[in-house]
Symmetry: D2
Subunit: 181 residues, 4 copies
Amino acid sequence: MSSVRTPDPNPGWLSELALEETRSRVPILYVEAVPVRLTPEGVVEQVGVLLRGSSTGEITRTLVSGRVYHGESIRTALMRNLEKDLGPMAFPRLPACPVPFTVAEYLPMPGVSPLHDPRQHAVALVYVVPVTGDCEPRQDALELTWLTPAEALSAELRGELEGGRGLLLTQAMAHVGANLA
Amino acid sequence: MSSVRTPDPNPGWLSELALEETRSRVPILYVEAVPVRLTPEGVVEQVGVLLRGSSTGEITRTLVSGRVYHGESIRTALMRNLEKDLGPMAFPRLPACPVPFTVAEYLPMPGVSPLHDPRQHAVALVYVVPVTGDCEPRQDALELTWLTPAEALSAELRGELEGGRGLLLTQAMAHVGANLA
Amino acid sequence: MSSVRTPDPNPGWLSELALEETRSRVPILYVEAVPVRLTPEGVVEQVGVLLRGSSTGEITRTLVSGRVYHGESIRTALMRNLEKDLGPMAFPRLPACPVPFTVAEYLPMPGVSPLHDPRQHAVALVYVVPVTGDCEPRQDALELTWLTPAEALSAELRGELEGGRGLLLTQAMAHVGANLA
Amino acid sequence: MSSVRTPDPNPGWLSELALEETRSRVPILYVEAVPVRLTPEGVVEQVGVLLRGSSTGEITRTLVSGRVYHGESIRTALMRNLEKDLGPMAFPRLPACPVPFTVAEYLPMPGVSPLHDPRQHAVALVYVVPVTGDCEPRQDALELTWLTPAEALSAELRGELEGGRGLLLTQAMAHVGANLA
């Protein structure tokens, strides 16, 4: 399960050209995470949603998300992308069980499926990940907002999530047994 | 999901007579837990198994286990029994998802099913629970032994678990993706 | 896993008095099922909901539901209750995996938890069960209605389900990956 | 969730050259299936294992397995590969829930992880799939053997499965609650 360590400092990184070509050939594997804060009894108190500037200049909401590199394990990819989006002090608790709560399928054509990614056919393994430290988003993520489960499930909030990811948020809340009424 | 709090200090406790009568009428609901220690990436490094003196004087191995009381939530019952068997400083991390990795069915007649409890028909919801603190078993539990997944899966160790719980240990290791070879 | 067969024709049945007494002592174990019709690829096309006359004379909606008897396996209890509520020609396909998609906790006091049962503290293992035959509800169930997932998820329909079971319907649809938008 | 249909008769198919290049760039997404025969109550009676001629001329055992094509849904890929390996009359029952029981990670270097694929870094979503019809393997699969769960779990049989897939067989049997003793 551990990742492969090679002398290459970026073994899984691809040039834009190579990535674009690859995206036209095969589904691209991603990991995604819904960060949560738990009570000691494991009840979800807060759900973390990222505010991110999209490529078209709009502000949209999204989840922790990133590609699995060649030679990289799922666990390492999840850890790397959690650190990329939440910063080094978030102290995520990766689950003991490597099975995702849902498999998200994004197609490049809008309207074909509930989930949509204009760049590619992507398949994401999606996890609920408790975090215990301080989250300081880096890179293009502007802000992490903590919401109650009820707020995360509001139709308005779900509609703001890019690519149809409001569905993933509802599935995550159903998975943890939150009150969906 | 939260437990009910009433003035009665032991709302779910039953006299031996009432418990025996109840055991002859309905299946009794239990929670069980396999304590584990995880790496930051969520890989199971160690598995906790209890050494316990049985009622017949023999020393047997078992898991964290206890009844769900009337009016008590699953999460509260799990927390209470983890503290009963691992002490107050174990700091268990209850899972966000309340679905067990297996449902264990114990029948009073030996040989009918892989799992056996001479006292009763019991149905247990079984969880893998990471612990981060110091475990100091109390009550009738004599000792907590930490094993590697490979040690926990040895035929000898599994055979020492009371009631056929070696099966639960194998299912737990399969669930977390441990190498079962 | 198989049920126990004894000469007693109703080994798990209890008198009203014994059942009432038992309900005051321990949580009572139930199984519940959400019947579905699937396409060959496993996509849920229809969801079955029961229309049932409640004890107070009202018409309410509910799911397949029943107690697990003493000495009875989960699988046998599920099969028995599916036949009780859907008739002998429903041909349910019980899942290979005995883990429920959710564990439903009903408390006797209203408002304490999302799920409520005025008679008792009940804990139900809830399954999605594909059926392939003809469903003809018997007993007190008046009618089985087949709905699309979208219809099953409407706020109005969910509100008609007794004991807060609209929550279970949403969790079931999230579990099977239905579009919850 | 449905697959995309385009005029191209083989939209996801790649030339050997393009596939080889792609394999050096990203993890390749697969679906795998453990075919089973169930009793009406859902208990696994038999497990199907393929006998296949490997590229080096050896006879090895394997599971139903194949790549997910670009633009193809997980469900369609699973159905297509089940038909490829079991024939058109197997009548597989795809699960209502699209979450696999395990995520299998194959690395090209032997010894790094329990699962190994010399051609590539592959990530497979693995499912238990009940089949109800007649299985007649086509293509390079020579034979489908039906085994009892106990036979499937023998150390000898598990060792014959290519790429370390004996692990997947054990995980599948743990998932369905088979007796692993």
